[in-house]
């Protein structure tokens, strides 16, 4: 890992200095930007500028930020409808993402996909899948292509705890293990399957990790609110996949600070639960870690200020963007660019 800033002063000072300052600052920047951008998405929703639905991952930023930092440019990521964070973490600009949420021409898919289908092939963001579990086999296929062509990239597939009870989860895990595919499955266990506690509807305590053995995989449960922990785990799994040693299944324990979607006030949560998790807010604990590590407060503030500026700039650009042109309605149903089903 490149680390031009980690001076000798820091070497050995903390148990986690293997990661390096540059990487840490990058993970902090991503977490802050994801947080700010999603908060803005919420504000824009309240102003009726974000239509339809949106699924925020406030509180889960460490996972996306750490994987986004650990992955290499050619790697492919697959995520769910709760995919804003994973999209930003691969380097997609805020105006592209917010623009898509606002269904404007400036958006990633010019408004044709919406918040649940964010895709940016140039960034390796191979789609956000809105049917629970569908993308696990698809990630297997992408990994199979890498294995077949010797492309050397890894496919990383993010999903929630609810996915672990879908048939496609089990089919994909078995398939990936049998074919020894370069794919990393990342379960973001935020304790709730939409509105229902995952524990109420799952036979095992750790919905992903406790099933790993069934597919001959290592049981991995980690603190998903600690970006350093996620980063180290990600690096190990990516290296394993790239080295031809097959898939990994990682269960990241985390918590979403808001409801399942914008329609959900999350009243089902027991009293005090949110407060306990807010104490372990990934952005807050990471900020403190940077201070403990000796990063200057001014440097941290600069990142935070720049993030707010970027969100404001993106918002302005999106507001100025027109809606998608009507010609897009019938475009790209078929590969010739059109929608003709008859000659």
């Amino acid at each position: 890992m490149k680390d031009s800033r980690a001076g000798p002063r820091h070497r050995g000072a903390l148990p986690n200095d293997d990661i390096g300052v540059e990487t840490r600052l990058e993970m902090f920047r991503l977490q802050v930007e994801i947080r700010d951008c999603e908060k803005r998405a919420h504000d824009l929703f309240l102003q009726n500028l974000v239509k339809g639905t949106s699924h925020l991952s406030l509180g889960q930023e460490a996972i996306a930020a750490a994987f986004g930092t650990a992955m290499q440019p050619g790697d492919k990521s697959f995520c769910t409808y709760r995919g804003h964070a994973h999209t930003l973490a691969r380097g997609v600009g805020m105006e592209k993402m917010l623009g898509e949420l606002m269904l404007r021409d400036i958006g990633l898919m010019r408004g044709k996909g919406g918040s649940m289908h964010l895709t940016s092939v140039e960034h390796g963001v191979m789609g956000s899948y809105a049917i629970i579990g569908a993308h696990l086999p698809i990630a297997c296929g992408s990994a199979w292509r890498a294995q077949y062509l010797g492309d050397g990239d890894v496919s990383v597939c993010f999903f929630g705890d609810g996915t672990t009870n879908i048939g496609a989860f089990h089919e994909a895990l078995n398939f990936a293990a049998v074919w020894k595919l370069p794919v990393v499955f990342v379960c973001e266990n935020n304790l709730y399957m939409e509105y229902t506690p995952i524990a109420d509807v799952t036979a095992v305590a750790h919905p992903a990790a406790d099933r790993a053995a069934a597919y001959g995989l290592e049981r991995i449960v980690i603190d998903g609110n600690d970006a350093d922990v996620v980063y180290r785990t990600a690096i190990a799994a990516l290296e394993k996949a790239r080295g031809g040693d097959g898939p990994s299944l990682i269960e990241c324990l985390t918590y979403r600070h808001s409801g399942h979607s914008r329609a959900d006030p999350a009243k089902y949560r027991p009293e005090g639960e949110l407060d306990r998790w807010l104490e372990r807010d990934p952005v807050k604990i990471y900020r403190q870690r940077l201070l403990d590590f000796g990063i200057a407060p001014e440097e941290i503030s600069r990142i935070e200020e720049r993030s707010r500026e970027k969100v404001d700039e993106a918002t302005a650009a999106c507001k100025a963007s027109p809606p998608a042109p009507e010609a897009l309605l019938t475009a790209d149903v078929y590969d010739d660019g059109g929608w003709a089903w008859r000659n």
Partner: protein, 327 residues
């Protein structure tokens, strides 16, 4: 020129495309070592090896999902779903994933894959292994839907499907696997969305698909011989894109339309063709458009019951002659 069975044509078609393009890979249950439960893929493993011809677990979602993931990142997979009935097990991919990806991503991703599947009845397999499901996928924007009736069409249309940049659902008919036909040597490539007029006629048009094609041809010959009715027979071959030009042209010429469908009556593809004809060439019609279909039932296993359910040449002759004579 060689005489091939429909099942041998499947293997020859896949081999033709795999020889041509290293990106073409093939996966499915029992397709490699066993050569397919219908023996339609015998020899592919031997020629192309386990890297390109792959047995999968019984995991239909994984098969179609993996095919899609590979297709949208650079391969051109052919995936087998053993019996078309099983398409329902993985219908998320057929209905929600393959066909919508290109549109939702504003053209960023294409899904160039072929799902081939054993479709249709007539072989006493009962209600869950006999369905004719081509209309399930016909209604979904973004898919192409093919159903060949002869060995030469299997090769040409399969080649066209593999080379197409869209997801194609390719229905092979189980009851046709043993049918033989002359096939020229060398590479064969057909065009999707082209119907074939297999018998020219002036009195009425009979539109058929897959196993109904030979039955419609037999019926047309008997209609001519026994009833003096000269029927034109069109093999649709491909439901999407649909060759409306050939169908409308024929109906304008004959003034009468009959469709012969194996799928259950409700919302069968024949209804769409009748609707197009009624919309666009109504004033050229000399009488009602008539659909000959399987009744709205699951298919029974009992041989005599299944035979009654599926349109036969007898039924086609009876229905066409009665309608043409104004009864």
């Amino acid at each position: 020129m060689a005489e091939l069975t429909y099942r041998e044509a499947v293997a020859r078609a896949i081999a033709q495309e795999m020889r041509r393009d290293e990106r073409v890979v093939f996966l499915g249950e029992d397709v490699a070592k066993a050569g397919g439960v219908f023996k339609a893929t015998v020899g592919l493993l031997e020629e192309f090896g386990p890297r390109r011809v792959r047995d999968t677990p019984i995991s239909e979602q994984a098969i179609l999902g993996a095919a899609m993931g590979a297709a949208m990142t650079g391969l051109r997979p052919i995936a087998e779903i053993m019996f078309s009935d099983f398409m329902a097990v993985c219908f998320d991919y057929v209905a929600n994933e393959f066909p919508k990806t290109r549109y939702m991503t504003n053209g960023q991703l294409s899904v160039p894959l072929v799902v081939r599947t054993g479709n249709g009845g007539g072989v006493r397999f009962g209600a869950q292994h006999s369905q004719s499901i081509e209309n399930w996928s016909m209604m979904i924007p973004g898919l192409k839907v093919v159903a060949p009736s002869s060995p030469i069409d299997v090769i040409g249309l399969m080649a066209a499907a593999v080379r197409d940049n869209n997801p194609v659902i390719f229905h092979e008919h189980k009851a046709l696997y043993a049918v033989k036909g002359e096939v020229p040597d060398g590479e064969i490539v057909d065009t999707l969305g082209t119907a074939k007029i297999l018998r020219a006629g002036k009195d009425c048009t009979i539109v058929a698909l897959a196993m109904m094609v030979p039955r419609a041809l037999e019926a047309a010959n008997r209609l001519s011989r026994d009833h003096g009715i000269d029927a034109e027979v069109i093999d649709v071959r491909c439901l999407v894109p649909l060759d409306t030009q050939a169908i409308l042209g024929s109906v304008v010429k004959t003034g009468r339309l009959f469709t012969v469908e194996e799928n259950p009556r409700l919302c069968g593809w024949g209804a769409e063709i009748v609707s197009i004809v009624a919309d666009e060439v109504f004033w050229d019609l000399d009488g009602p458009c008539v659909r000959i279909t399987t009744p709205h039932i699951p298919l029974p296993a009992a041989d005599h019951l299944e035979d009654i359910a599926l349109p036969t040449a007898d039924r086609i002759v009876e229905r066409v002659s009665r309608v043409m004579n104004g009864d």
